[in-house]
Subunit: 406 residues, 2 copies
DNA sequence: GGCATTTTGTTCGACTTAAGAACAAATTAC
DNA sequence: GTAATTTGTTCTTAAGTCGAACAAAATGCC
């Protein structure tokens, strides 16, 4: 029972019915392709005449295409429908601390070109460099006409509606305009998002072949920070002022280490890459030492993961402890939100066989039902580039989204 | 961008447009009543002819009525529209540990009759007694024809879709059929829900005059347990297997007291009424002593609240500490979900002037933005009977809900 | 081989409904 | 008394959904 917001509703028009059904058809084709009009009509309990009309429209608009007919037991051969993805392109941009990645890819997330360059810290100069490379890449592949927009992922807090970066401690940015200037420089629409939400979008819209994604799930990214994209009823939870998702700052201890945010006992202070590395090095996590740790030790969490995979006990124990704390935080999420699945991304997941049992045990200790205790938890494969795919989904998903009404 | 679930969608028909707009009208009348057709048409940017048609239908269906005309500066006097609530009734039932309450009330939650009786622990006998009293009350008020259903609130975990009580430790029930037998005994449709969710429904649908309710909020109930109703985009979050809302079992300490659920450091073990009473009595919270505390001490949390209100320092400190822990848990919720408001119900809120500053301070320490730190937090007035009003909303809200599509 | 059956996709006509313009009703202003 | 304003109704038209029939393309059967 959803409550209609009297301040913000969309009334229906004569176009609404058709729009809704068109989007349903589009999503059914996407899910089940190749599929015939007749099968679609059966799934939707819609007359075949109507289906022909809807499909004709979608074909005319370039959203789907009619492929070869299929062999069937008897009767007329059905024409099979496919969603057009291969010739609809997105420029995906992933800004990270040291490097910025650009990928030209299609609507399904398949890469056509990929490049990276050292991240420039000055916002204006970085935007200029990104714009230059976008234009060059599109020109090189002669695809300027097919590119429908730019998806831009930034570390930190972004305001998606205004297109500004509110606060990125990693980049040292605060209240920076990004979207509008990049849009002006490239002539393309730009959509901006933070990393955990982008990864959740990738999962939701460009998910893995053979892996069902529930309408309710949580995606956790573990890096120097720990964040989430929370999906409820198929939609990202952004919250009242769009600051939802700061999982790393859930308190799991009353008197824990001081977190980079200033509070005590934040999950992030126990589970971030910095925390794991501190644990491995036998150094107490502190905000003061966090910035120098890699430099003074010459190690990253990737090294810890490698050593654990080679059987080094200290590394294994460090990761197990990270997993336990992560499990504690996730148990809270499971008890409050009851997600259908949890996906975890970040370097630590490369030691999944070590991490997962620790996470699972902590969850089992605290879940209230057997079903909650067995909430599926999966690692994002490291080579799947979730952030770039999320940047792609920022643009492509708009074509597939449910209409907003009432 | 909501993703359409290919396993569970509702396609649009020729009726969809009208249905959507009708619900919008109904909700606008409810929000702004008394209001004229012309004003509604302006708010919806809809032609007056269409508005007349929609309103005629709603009047014919008995959802709204046309009241007296209103004085205006010039021009024809507009007829004012109202939502019919007074003659549409609900039987609300609130089953508590020691007493069960029945209220016959109208769609707006105004009570017509109220009674209670000692809760019978045997499920079958309780249902029989409830049914008997429902029938008697309806007969006494000659309202059997106007009553549209029964809303039933039960302490513990309920499965709203099957109508069963999964687990109620307070009542000692496990996997008990409730809805179907009560429905058979009364001939009325029955809707069942747990207490925190019911309270959130009351807030969302029968909220307080002059208090705006955002589309995203969290309602926390503090009693022997601590639970939440989480509302996202105007809709209750039930979760994948409908076990969302167990806020009391979010871990806020790694080595805390053992909770009634068996885990360590649950928020509930620090903030429930039992925990507050233990704190006041200087007794360590433990599962073993929890059940006897009231009997051996002769006190309840209500006594602690009374004493605090009278200035007793020990009571004040006990409540302040409860508030601090509650604030820690809520800081986590704020950081993950960014709700527009938080409502808190339960006896402890009667000492709101003591509790609120403690909650606020803990949140301020851990919130990441100034706006998050100033998330509005309000106490549910104790005399507002949120559970009974929630039981009412279980039935009445169906008439006002947004249509489910796509 | 021809006709019957099956299955897919198209076409056509009927009916319903959203939309917009004009009209009517009820008031104040001049 | 007429003009202007505002509300609510009526009427007509265009658009869109629905369902039945038709056509096309295949296999099955006698």
């Amino acid at each position: 029972m959803r409550r209609i917001d009297p301040q913000s509703f969309v009334r229906a028009t004569r176009l609404t019915t058709r729009h809704i059904n068109r989007q349903i058809v589009l999503n059914l084709v996407r899910e089940h392709q190749p599929i015939s009009r007749a099968d679609l009509a059966r799934k939707m309990r819609l007359a075949r005449g109507r289906m022909t009309q809807i499909v004709s429209e979608l074909v005319a608009q370039g959203e789907i295409y009619i492929g070869p007919t299929m062999q069937t037991a008897r009767g007329r051969r059905p024409e099979m429908l496919f969603v057009r993805t291969r010739d609809r392109l997105v420029m995906a941009v992933d800004v990270r601390l040291s490097r910025t990645f650009l990928m030209l890819g299609d609507f399904a997330g398949s890469p056509i070109a990929l490049e990276s360059f050292e991240t420039v810290r000055d916002p204006a100069r970085l935007i200029t460099e990104i714009a230059r490379r976008v234009r060059a890449m599109l020109k090189k592949h002669d695809r300027a006409k097919s590119c429908e927009g730019i998806g831009l992922v930034i570390p930190g807090m972004v305001d998606q509606s205004s297109g500004r970066v509110l606060n990125s401690p990693q980049l040292g940015w605060k209240n920076v305009d990004v979207r509008d200037s990049l849009s002006r420089s490239t002539g393309l629409p730009v959509y901006i998002e933070n990393a955990p939400i982008a990864c959740a979008l990738a999962r939701m819209w460009l998910g893995e072949q053979g892996v069902a994604v529930p309408q309710n799930f949580v995606y956790v990214t573990v890096s120097d920070g720990v964040g989430t994209g929370v999906v409820v009823n198929g939609e990202l939870v952004r919250g009242h002022s769009h600051t939802a998702g700061e999982f790393g700052h859930v308190p799991i201890a009353l008197d824990g280490p001081v977190c980079l945010c200033g509070a005590r006992g934040c999950l992030e202070a126990y589970t971030s890459n910095i925390a794991t590395l501190s644990r491995y090095l036998g150094v107490e996590f502190s905000a003061r030492s966090a910035h120098d740790l890699t430099r003074t030790s010459g190690l990253t969490v990737g090294d810890v993961v490698d050593r654990a995979k080679r059987g080094e006990q200290r590394a294994i124990r460090a990761l197990e402890e990270t997993g336990r704390y992560l499990g504690v935080g996730l148990a809270g999420i499971i008890n409050v939100l009851n997600p259908g699945a949890i996906f975890i991304g970040g370097e630590v997941t490369e030691a999944w066989s070590i991490l997962e049992p620790a996470i699972r045990a902590a969850i089992t200790d605290r879940a209230l039902t057997a079903r909650a205790a067995s909430t599926p938890i999966a690692a994002e494969p490291a080579d799947s580039h979730p952030r770039l795919r999320g940047a792609t989904a920022l643009v492509s998903a708009r074509a597939f989204a449910a209409p907003k009404i009432a």
